[in-house]
Symmetry: C3
Subunit: 344 residues, 3 copies
């Protein structure tokens, strides 16, 4: 894919300073730029690279006035960072624009497939499932029976969606994602022997949800495990049965959430956090990395530690922990003093 400065400026509603025929075929950081690449300048700290960059085109702010000669063609826009992100997105969409249904995929006769769908080799689509318009089902993906996918949802290679689950529009699931495996539910039969509780609920995932590689979302025992609109889950996360994740909540890699816990909207849960079951985490809560949450968290609270409590208090306590030897030394000294007094 080759683009000219003219096409890009038009696309970004920008103005050109330099050669409008300049051509690029790749995107690069301004400090790594090579002939044929396009870069951007948003952070003033990087301004010096405008003059040395080998990039053929650089996107700059409306008000950028070069103080030295610039080799690159400049495109002036209102917000260089946002414009570059738009360009990335445009480039990515072209790159990922797979189309067509492979004869080597298995599609149940009772499945309903929308328009402009990509279904890759060795993909499996079960009975009575519905795939919305513009979906991309990459090779080796599994979609069980009675599954619904909205429009323009992408399942990368090897995603597994068990039967009876519902997935919204504009979602992206990465390789190795497992949706709807059994929740971890066992009842003791005797002291040392367990019976499995059949897990017959499902998973409902709303629109604009992104789920990272090898993350697993368990189906509900009864009812539904729910991930609300716009939530973003990173890689290798565990979501237990009957959990609910609120709108636009962000969860970083390797976090685990146990059964029946309800997470509010707009929360930020850092990496490797563990949250026990049957809790309520309020809207806008923030949980620091590696925390172990074992009690409810209030709206807007920030917690840290294992078990977790108020983050600012944790950080202070941890400063003392780091200095524990000095604190004990102080106690030793006090005891010396005391025993001296006693002797005295």
């Amino acid at each position: 894919m080759i683009f000219t400065a003219k096409e890009i400026a038009h696309n970004l509603n920008g103005s050109i300073v330099g050669n409008e025929g300049a051509q690029v075929n790749s995107l690069a950081k301004i400090e790594d730029g090579k002939p044929g690449s396009i870069s951007f300048l948003a952070n003033p700290k990087y301004t010096k690279f405008v003059y040395s960059s080998e990039s053929s085109i650089i996107i700059v702010g409306q008000d950028f006035i070069p103080e030295k000669p610039v080799k690159a063609t400049l495109i002036k826009v209102e917000n260089p960072y946002a414009s570059f992100a738009k360009l990335l997105d445009y480039y990515n969409k072209i790159k990922l624009d797979k189309k067509g249904i492979s004869a080597r995929a298995h599609i149940s006769p009772s499945a309903t497939i929308g328009n402009d769908v990509y279904i890759g080799e060795f993909a499996f689509i079960g009975e009575n499932s519905t795939i919305g318009d513009g979906c991309k089902i990459y090779p080796q993906t599994y979609i069980g029976d009675n599954v619904t996918l909205g429009n323009n949802t992408t399942l990368f290679p090897g995603v597994k969606v068990y039967s009876d689950n519902s997935i919204g529009s504009e979602c992206v699931f990465h390789s190795g994602v497992v949706i709807g495996g059994d929740g971890f539910g066992f009842v003791p039969v005797t002291d040392d022997n367990y019976n499995k509780i059949a897990q017959i609920g499902n998973v409902i995932i709303e629109d604009y949800v992104e789920i990272g590689a090898n993350t697993s979302v368990d189906r509900a025992t009864l009812g539904s495990t729910i991930i609300r609109k716009g939530a973003k889950l990173d890689n290798l996360i565990q979501i237990g049965h009957n959990v609910e994740i609120g709108e636009n909540t962000i969860i970083v890699a390797q976090t685990g959430i146990s059964g029946s816990t309800k997470i509010g909207k707009n929360c930020v849960i850092a990496g490797q956090v563990g949250i026990t079951g049957h809790l309520i985490i309020g809207d806008n809560a923030k949980i620091a990395a590696q925390s172990g949450v074992s009690t409810n968290v209030k709206e807007g609270a920030v917690v840290f530690g294992s078990p977790a409590f108020e983050a600012s208090k944790y950080r202070k306590a941890y400063v003392h922990f780091r200095n524990f030897q000095k604190i004990v030394d102080r106690i030793d000294k006090l005891e010396d003093f005391m025993s001296g007094k006693d002797k005295a």
Copy 2:
């Protein structure tokens, strides 16, 4: 699937109060019930929902006497919770009752396949492998060479079983499970360069073992990694080479167990625990979530912390940690007192 109150009562050995022709096609919590669903009442706290529930059938205890009119048909049984679990299980078995061997699966001519087996599309079964009666091998599953599966074992889509491993009867492995990848064994050649130790042992998994999505169990260097009868492993767990997990031990999500550690029977290991290598964890031990175990744990012990020690002691120490600022304030005060005395 539609069931009548009469069929269900017969199945559960219960008695009907109301319309024996009442029909249901789904299972629901009593508070979420809709016409056509069946629910149960086990916890007295939920008794009020019997009168308001829209469920068509409700399973209640033998001795339940309504105090107000009830819309639903009641089925009286000895243990409503156990009866409902039985019903879930029955429903689930019908739902998961896949049969037949896909022409699009790859089955080595030297493999032995039992009766009533399901082998889905794009599944792979290697040389000299044996699949027992009633097994369900979902699409895109991989079974290497010389693997043995007992009877009625289910491998959900995308499970990967490397060569030379042995799996028992009545096991369930969820999507993304990897059995028999190489253990993590490298010997330094020089200070900064490693040679891999070939991992030529295998994995033995006994009967009634359940393993959750994306969990990996490494093969032994020599000998076997062993998971004993009835053990239950949740999602995203790491089991190192030459580990042994005892009978009916439960391991919650994202826990990791390093090479050659031996876990006893009936242990409960909570989520995100790490256990270092070459340890012995006694029978009935309990390990709290996020603990880091670096020493042997005695039979029946309960440990917590990283590094882990006696849980009750950890919890007390952690209370002091939370109040660390106050404790330091007390020392400050003592020092003020001391220096005052000195001045005095």
Copy 3:
């Protein structure tokens, strides 16, 4: 596969004491040996087993002189452990010697396939990708477009390599590995709504890298996520976008490394460690298990804790933490003393 003592001695450059026609077909620990197996003696603690072992052949040191009669044939070598490892490796190579390209694989016409390559059933190889000589691509593996694989690299069943990534020679990736999923990058559009930043960079993996089951390595936003020569990654690890892992660095299971962090050479990062983004970890650093690293780590440093600091200091502080109750008791006593003095 059956080997004779003569063949093995030749292979290992060793000398035989006993029957040079002794035959073996398996490898076993000296204490578990059976007729037909070969074992080794490296650790003097195990010397007693030489006399009782049922193994048909035992590899011993050059200077080993039996003090009692030995049933097994002995092969004397300079380094018994290294010789046994060599034997394991040899055995393993024969076992894993798959060849041929399945008609049931999908190989894009524009892909370039080297000599002596194995490509298993239901594998997918995308457009313009290059597979080097001697590579083994197991069944159900996915290789996207424009991917390069060096020579003799093995991808076990179900590995997924997204488009545009580059993988070296002599690498081994286990089942469930995902290379090149999107980095976790979102910009807030409003306070509670995110736009995804397209992730158009790639992943570069150099030679001799081993990656364990279900580990995920995200592609860079721009530029490359890089794993240098000889690095070894265990199972279920998360490598964020634009991370760089230095040569011969070892990372144990379930560790997570956030975006843009740079890890030096020859580091040892234990299990379940979390490292935040944009940090620099110096060469030869060691990070203890379950640590949470939130600041740069100097060359050769050893850190522990969450947040992590100097490991020896952490261990001392943790001893005090374990004894926190006693420390508080001491303060109580001091206060009693003080108040007594006050009264006095």
